[in-house]
Symmetry: C2
Amino acid sequence: MMKPASPIEDFSRLADYLGEHKIKRTAAVAWPEDDHTRDAVEKAANAGFLNPIMIGSEATTDRYKGRFSTLTADSPEDASEQSVRLVQEGEAQVLMKGFVNTDVLLRAVLNKEKGILPKGKVLTHVSAAMISNYHKLLFFTDPAVIPYPTQEQRVAQVEYIVNICHKFHVACPKVSLIHCTEKPDERHFPFTVGYEEIKRMAREGKFGTCIVDGPLDLKTSCSPEALQAKKIASPIEGDADALVFPDIEAGNVFYKTITLFAQTETAAVLQGTKVPVVLPSRGDSVQSKFYSLALATLITTDNEQDL
Amino acid sequence: MMKPASPIEDFSRLADYLGEHKIKRTAAVAWPEDDHTRDAVEKAANAGFLNPIMIGSEATTDRYKGRFSTLTADSPEDASEQSVRLVQEGEAQVLMKGFVNTDVLLRAVLNKEKGILPKGKVLTHVSAAMISNYHKLLFFTDPAVIPYPTQEQRVAQVEYIVNICHKFHVACPKVSLIHCTEKPDERHFPFTVGYEEIKRMAREGKFGTCIVDGPLDLKTSCSPEALQAKKIASPIEGDADALVFPDIEAGNVFYKTITLFAQTETAAVLQGTKVPVVLPSRGDSVQSKFYSLALATLITTDNEQDL
């Protein structure tokens, strides 16, 4: 039996890991007409884990001739549709949004006939954060896509995030179901009752090897001292690998607060689609887009646990 | 006409300010049976702005004999009721929870006959944060009391927070109504429509001198660069003094994230009650409880603007 790999605990280690294991994927890049997108894609190609197909204006295809594969598109809409088609045909294993409005790319992704969200799959957003004050990567969902998750959507979120932790070789990820207190409260917060069902599913092995607990607040999830101060017990032990937020407002506030106030690098992808979709926000740094491409690439690999 | 005072921009300045202006208030301290509460109260008394009435066990009243006023209580419930009565009778201008469960103190505060929440007033929680990466104090509401504010409750939150900013001599506080994007969205986020009405009320002067804008996300509220990157205009200009969160989950995540990951000191009070109530969480530091007592004391003063 193979010795289990040690967890990938930061983003620079992630790029190295992809290189060491000669992991390389083809990415369809929709409308790379801005410097930020181009810089991130070039960096990922130089790092050796990305083979980009640049789907852009004639100027862009001219620019990359001989270096990367290119396709000419006549608009952001056209570029989005061509990118989705490449994924559909199995030519690309990663999709990246360039200088395109999110709505435009999502319309192509979600198109009932030509899109790449399989029927019955839940589309959601998963981020990974490298927070200067935390001792490992912290994964979280969903700061950007689902407003108020239904129980079915939340189950999918747990499934995706556990799967991603496994890709990072976190053998038994600790997943915290976030709420402002540690008490289930059917009357004011009905979703906390759903948390009980998710914990039961986790115990029954529905998500693979993992620990799921909650409701827990953010601090007791991520600080053993805070957990102790509240005199409560949790198998997460203040050492969470992943946080599932109750709604988009809570997830979004977390994402914005850590990046603004806590010296944090993030990476993010959409899950549920046929391949991981990198969908950066306008304010994201080149570094963050590069990390997102690395994250997307890692997600396309098979789990060692499955081998 | 008096020259307007400069804003009180951090917590240590706040304690100095109370001293310089010889501001001193009597506080009813319910069941000060733990070191954290005692240390914070003693510190505030030594700083000169607090005159405590310790309502505790016989051991506690013995301990403080000759130093502070004391009253003997035979249980946390009894201490809570006695504290509320002191406020009711005008003997105390601040109320502080000691080693008492929040539920117990709130029951005394909210009692229909003997309580101290005037009929029709909204009870809510307001915090002030000194975040190491932000250039001034940041006030926010509500991380702890109202689950999903109604429009009426949100209007009260804006009223209270503007009032508190004025007490800190922020002449024209910039108040941001938080949402995960900058777009009102009646279908998924009906409260964003209510935001429009609150902005109109602010323009009509209902809250006194202030600027209210939203929906805005946390980053565009507090970072001029983030605002610019999104290419949107806001009179808050990425320089918010106060944040009104859409719900308790978002507010609580903000509170827990800044205190855990962003080197932040906080102070907090309940508003709506006859006098400010200091209601610390189990995990709060002595320093945070001390700052909360200073905040509560400041709130009891008259606005210079009203003089």
